[in-house]
């Protein structure tokens, strides 16, 4: 139902018409942002394994996975949202509010088996609020979610104040970080992988997923071609809220501490990973595998540099540079390519504007 306007596919089609189908398909694959992110990931893992003592062990791998688990979880729905040209900056506050509510409910004696689904429901409701403000009220998501970012964090402080609830049972807190039997891999890796498959299939292999690209490329055109834009967006914000709440539950158990300021500022790490993963902030392009690569790349670089005794400040500089380079390089490459193409006489029909 939706027009196939994924960037790499379009690029490949154009080059294919130029006459060298096999080679250019490879070349366009090599050129995608996802490939460069995954390449950078492979290089950093290899370099860190060879150069940084203590990096290439299962134990450290387990630490790494636990460090990035929450960012990876939240990045999944965020990818879909950014592809539609929207953004959800309230995710970290949703996480914080969920954590605070979880703490308060536990404090008054509600069993955890009830708290967890309630928290997920709460997250979904918070997501619906974002979604309705964006779709029904027609407000820009940047403004809406900056507002709810402050609102949800504020509510978290109303619920829990500056207290911390930390007497969760060991079986749950230890369970959250426990490893799969016989390995160093925390079970949360399976949760992330499972959800990644779900979101990946929805995004890349269903009409709904293709519709998201259409919305992100040209919302007006998408609407006229019969795509239910508001329903799609509402669904995405709801999913984002629910997954942020899931991350909130996990975070609370992982650190064994429910606090209103949990995950303060995490939304920036998530957005950074999504952009590093090759998703365009203007919508319409990106792939989930790139985002997972981005999350892993940021986590690996951070972990390896910490092990190599690089200070926290230098670490922030490196992460920042990585992000800037990841935006600047493809831009420059695209501009160079365009110039080369303009210099050479066109061999086929002109490429459609991106």
């Amino acid at each position: 139902m939706a027009p196939d306007i994924g960037p790499s596919a379009a690029g490949a089609a154009v080059e294919g018409r130029a006459g060298r189908p096999g080679r250019s398909a490879w070349r366009s694959l090599l050129r995608t942002r996802e490939t460069s992110v995954l390449g950078a990931l492979a290089v950093s893992v290899l370099a860190a394994s060879l150069l940084v003592e203590g990096f290439a062990t299962g134990r450290n791998g387990g630490f790494l996975v636990l460090d990035i688990a929450c960012v990876a979880l939240i990045a999944l729905p965020m990818t879909l949202i950014v592809i539609t040209g929207e953004i959800d900056l309230s995710v970290a506050s949703t996480l914080g509010l969920t954590s605070a509510v979880m703490g308060q409910l536990w404090w008054v004696g509600v069993p955890l088996e009830t708290i967890v689904p309630l928290c997920l429901l709460l997250g979904a409701v918070l997501g619906v609020v974002n979604g309705l403000l964006v779709t029904v009220a027609g407000l820009p998501s940047l403004a809406v979610t900056i507002g709810t970012m402050a609102l949800y964090r504020g509510l978290a402080y109303v619920v829990l104040g500056d207290r911390a609830v930390a007497d969760f049972p060991m079986s749950w807190t230890g369970g959250a970080t426990s490893r799969l039997p016989g390995t160093d891999l925390p079970w949360v890796a399976l949760l992330v992988a499972g959800l990644a498959v779900v979101f990946g299939v929805v995004l890349h292999a269903t009409p709904f997923g293709r519709a998201l690209y259409a919305i992100g490329s040209n919302e007006e055109a998408a609407r006229f071609s019969g795509i239910g834009v508001p329903a799609a967006k509402l669904g995405l914000f709801t999913a984002s809220g629910a997954v942020a709440a899931l991350a909130g539950v996990f975070w609370t158990l992982q650190y064994g501490s429910a606090r209103a300021d949990n995950a303060f500022g995490l939304e920036l790490s998530v957005v950074a990973a999504v952009l590093l993963g090759g998703v365009s902030i203007f919508g319409g392009r990106g792939a989930l595998v790139g985002v997972l690569g981005g999350v892993l790349l940021l986590g690996t670089v951070r972990n390896a540099l910490q092990l190599a005794d690089v200070s926290a400040d230098a670490l922030n500089i490196v992460t920042g540079l990585l992000l800037v380079v990841s935006v600047v390089l493809p831009n420059t490459a695209a501009r160079l390519r365009e110039r080369r193409r303009a210099a050479a006489p066109p061999q086929g029909p002109p490429a459609p504007p991106p």
């Binding site: 003592e53 203590g54 062990t57 134990r59 450290n60 630490f63 460090d67 536990w106 404090w107 004696g109 509600v110 069993p111 955890l112 088996e113 009830t114 689904p117 309630l118 429901l121 979904a124 409701v125 619906v128 779709t135 029904v136 911390a164 930390a166 007497d167 049972p169 060991m170 079986s171 749950w172 807190t173 230890g174 970080t177 239910g228 508001p230 329903a231 509402l234 669904g235 709801t238 975070w251 992982q254 650190y255 064994g256 501490s257 606090r259 300021d261 949990n262 995950a263 303060f264 500022g265 951070r302 972990n303 910490q306 092990l307 005794d309 200070s311 926290a312 400040d313 670490l315 922030n316």
Partner: protein, 357 residues
Amino acid sequence: MLRTRIRYGVTAAAVAGVLLAATACGGTTRGDDEGAGGGGAAGEADPDAEIPEGLSIGFLPKQLNNPYFTYANAGGEEAAEELGGEYKEVGPSEASASSQVSYVNTLSQQGSDVIVIGANDPNAVCGALNQASQAGAAIVTYDSDTDPECRDVFVNQATAEDIAAVQVEMIAEQIGGEGEIAFLSATPNATNQNTWLELMEEELAAEEYSGIEVVDTVYGNDDDQKSFNEMQALLQSHPDLAGVVSPTTVGLAAAARYLSGSDFKGEVALTGLGTPNQMREFVDDGTVEEFALWNPRDMAYLAAYAGASLSAGRITGAEGETFEAGRLGEYTVGADGEVVLGPPTVFNADNIDDYDF
């Protein structure tokens, strides 16, 4: 179409709610006691054990580039040098509850023998510390403790009793043993300050301080401007005030700033807890005679020695064990694995220039 979807959503939520209510009976609740996990002291202490050369001692402050911890950790480095160990400081750039966890993991992965940590949250680092401990590291907390289960020894900078006592002594001496005094505290529900205020009142009830009367307690909310205004109001509403005690660094600095520019300078005594860098100009211009705080450098120095003694097996963190802490002398492990640095340091014109924090 959107509306039908919303209706479906609401129905689904309601159904979920009912299901939840149904499952609410039974389950893991706060009342269930699982029994505390291990931790604490284990094994036998051997007071004569050698402290091995080349111990790696990792310091993990609440936050890097925090002047207080930068100054403190210089003491840790000094101790590590004396012990022939390897000093290292790592830490997050923001002081959040969870940000220290990956640094604990890093230190553990690097094979640190001793981890000295000032915890941002008493529980968030627990899991990581326990894992590090299992991997063979001695865990010492300083400045801010974790749950006692998660560390071997806590180096407490000063006990509440000592902090209260030193402030009462200072104000009594400065006002000549009699007169009206008032407290300028942080927030009305600040745990530390309230404990100290209570202990100071108890102390002042003693016979030797019978000439001193506490006439007011005001709160500056640890906000510079508010503390400044409260100090001003205090002096106007109590014309006979002889002295003010401010057991918070923000309050003391703001009060001193007001006092130094007012007619009450030299008339009304001011003391409390403050840092030498904030108070230097007011000691120099005679507004403040003496104030107190613990010496953070000694705190980190002691923490390094405690960690090395643990790692060598000289102590296990059990009550009553003693260990040697270089230039500070001998210390005894108290209840719950606490080692108290000692009475707070009093700063005045004679010694204030020896400190930089």
